[in-house]
């Protein structure tokens, strides 16, 4: 974690590498993809474990229900595609084939958010976290960097029950040192602060850290929390942050409906209401462009977070 941005590997690459490690350890792990294995990086697994990889073609619904059948027979299937197609096209299959019977299926959506850039809105998942969170019993994970991805994919494999993991296309800034501790449902406090708390995940973690660095120069002491598990959300850390810092800003690469901000605000409203501000997409799809350009245009940069911090502080 650093005020200066240092890029590591993309979270999708970290996913592919970790899946190979897991495949070596557990022969019941199998992988499925819908003709995007080279992009989701399940291709790493396919290369290593030819017999345990099933390319289902461009048919996400069939892939998810097939994964359910495999899980019902004791396999631990990881089914991947672009987050947009996986969650949106196969949502009913996730609902009835997987969530209703609470089967041990791991669903991995790559190319989450608008940072995929040039391919444009049809390929950008901006609602995947909301959809995943709406499925009873699902664990929903949004790792920030390669260390987080490696740890969380491992924890997902150990967890018995359905899990959604969102990975990203671009190289992700390094937030964690190797070996950092992770627990499903337990947020990581990356920076202590007393004036306000920023709760973020995914690529917005680095933006939040840089925002905290800018604020520090202005004399504002910002606490930064990585809410890598959106569901079950870490109630304790949210309530404690509301109590001790008195204001919260959330930041996510997602629509403001049903994502991280919604989850945090529910807890704040229920337990300890304090002023809140939200960073995320406001009822809009994005467009083709560069990752950095899109973050600027759609209000997801460190600078935008600083603005929201100042607004929230005025309301304290």
């Amino acid at each position: 974690m650093s005020c200066k941005r240092i890029y590591g590997m993309a979270t999708r690459d970290a996913y592919g590498k970790t899946l190979v490690e897991l495949g070596k350890e557990n022969p019941d792990i199998v992988a499925l993809d819908a003709d995007l294995s080279k992009s989701t990086k399940s291709a790493f697994f396919a290369k290593e474990f030819k017999d345990r990889f099933f390319n289902m073609g461009i048919a996400e619904a069939n892939m998810v229900s097939t994964a359910a059948g495999l899980a019902a027979c004791g396999k631990v299937p990881f089914a991947s595609s672009f987050a947009s197609f996986l969650m949106c096209k196969a949502f009913d299959q996730l609902r009835m084939s997987v969530a209703n019977p609470h089967l041990n299926v791991k669903v991995v959506g790559s190319h989450g958010g608008i940072s995929i850039g040039e391919d444009g809105a049809s390929q950008m998942a901006v609602e995947d976290v909301a959809l995943a969170c709406s499925l009873p019993g699902f664990v929903v994970l949004v790792p920030a960097d390669e260390v987080a991805t490696k740890a969380l994919v491992r924890l997902a494999a150990q967890h018995v029950g359905p899990v959604y993991i969102r990975t990203g296309r671009p190289k992700a800034p390094i937030v964690y040192q190797a070996g950092a501790h992770f627990e499903i449902g337990k947020a990581n406090i990356l920076r202590e602060g007393i004036d306000i708390t920023v709760i973020a995940n995914g690529l917005l973690i680095q933006e939040a850290i840089e925002a905290a660095c800018i604020c520090s120069e202005k004399g504002i002491d910002v606490r930064v929390i990585d809410m890598h598990t959106v569901k079950p959300v870490d109630v304790n850390v949210i309530v404690q942050s509301a109590q001790t810092t008195g204001a919260i800003v959330t930041a996510e690469e997602h629509l403001l409906s049903g994502g991280l901000g919604a989850a945090v605000s529910q807890i704040v409203a229920e337990h300890y209401p304090v002023p809140m501000e939200f960073i995320g997409l406001r009822d809009t799809y994005a467009e083709s462009g560069t990752y950095e350009g899109l973050f600027r245009k759609y209000g997801l940069t460190a600078g935008h977070i600083v603005g929201k911090i100042e607004e929230a502080l005025k309301r304290k």
Binding site: S65, T66, G69, C73, M96
Partner: protein, 281 residues
């Protein structure tokens, strides 16, 4: 072709008797519930009876037995037929059948695998069961197990795109341990299939997708058993048994009457139906 199953007249008589019992259960259950899908349950009964009482390797005392054959009822609205077959097999007491659709009952309106032992998949949102069954068959291949997977889909259900995604992948992965049965009763909720969204030429479609296809009378026990036998010895591809059936089979005023797709009989209708089910068949 060498068959697995000997078919004796005694067996046919027993199956006939069991199918009649299951039909009576379906009528009593849906009447007690005041809702449900008797038409498509009655059309499915004979195939379900053969599966549970002649063909499948299963143990009601050990529902989680890893080597068991699996049956997925993809057309989940025919749940009453499945619940009755499970109860009559010994998975739970038949008295429980009358709790169908009641609060707290494991007998949900459509099957849910986490609520009732013996249910292999949660179905009711049409189109998903064939894919789930394909996943089970794939797992069987991976584990080099010899269990077989059976799945019943509806004719109307075949209008769902996912059915054809699964048709493609099951043939591609050569799932010869997978046998699908289509309950072709020719009617769906809104009317005759041919008037809503025709699925013909359905045999050509499945053949075109690379499946072994067998056409039978879905109320003829000899034909049902022989078809499943043929599926068992078919190698390198899955089998689709197109079972021509009659919606509401066994009850005169329900047969081919689309009203009973999703409507329960009244008490009076139940009495008439139960009398017919003693004397007819």
């Amino acid at each position: 072709m060498k068959g697995h199953f000997q078919i004796k007249q005694m067996d046919i008589n027993k199956l006939t008797e069991m199918a009649r019992t299951i039909r009576r259960d379906v009528i009593e259950m849906t009447t007690a519930a005041g809702s449900g899908h008797p038409g498509g349950s009655l059309s499915a009964v004979d195939v379900v009876t053969v599966l549970y009482f002649k063909v499948m390797r299963h143990n009601p005392k050990d529902p989680g037995w890893v080597d068991r054959d699996r049956f997925v009822l993809s057309k989940g609205h025919a749940a009453p037929a499945l619940y009755s077959a499970l109860a009559r097999s010994g998975y739970f007491p038949p008295e429980q059948l009358l709790t169908l659709r009641k609060m707290g009952s494991p007998l949900q309106g459509h099957p849910e695998m986490k609520r009732l032992q013996g249910i292999e998949a949660s179905t009711g949102s049409l189109g998903q069961g064939l894919s789930i069954a394909a996943g089970m068959a794939l797992a069987g291949k991976l584990d080099k197990k010899d269990y077989r997977v059976y799945v019943m889909i509806g004719d109307g259900e075949s209008e769902e795109g996912q059915i054809w995604e699964a048709a493609m992948s099951s043939a591609y992965y050569k799932l010869d341990n997978l046998t699908a049965i289509m309950d072709y009763n020719s009617q769906q909720l809104d009317g005759w299939i041919k008037d809503i969204m025709d699925i013909e030429p359905v045999v050509d479609k499945w053949k075109g997708f690379g499946w072994h296809v067998i056409e039978i009378d879905g109320h003829n026990f000899h034909q049902i058993i022989k078809a499943i036998d043929e599926a068992m010895v078919t190698q390198g591809r899955p089998t689709m048994i197109i079972a021509k059936t009659v919606k509401g089979k066994g009850v005169s005023f329900m047969e081919n009457n689309v009203e009973f797709h999703g409507m329960a009989p009244t008490r009076e209708q139940m009495e008439v139906a139960l009398k017919e089910l003693v004397n007819v068949l």
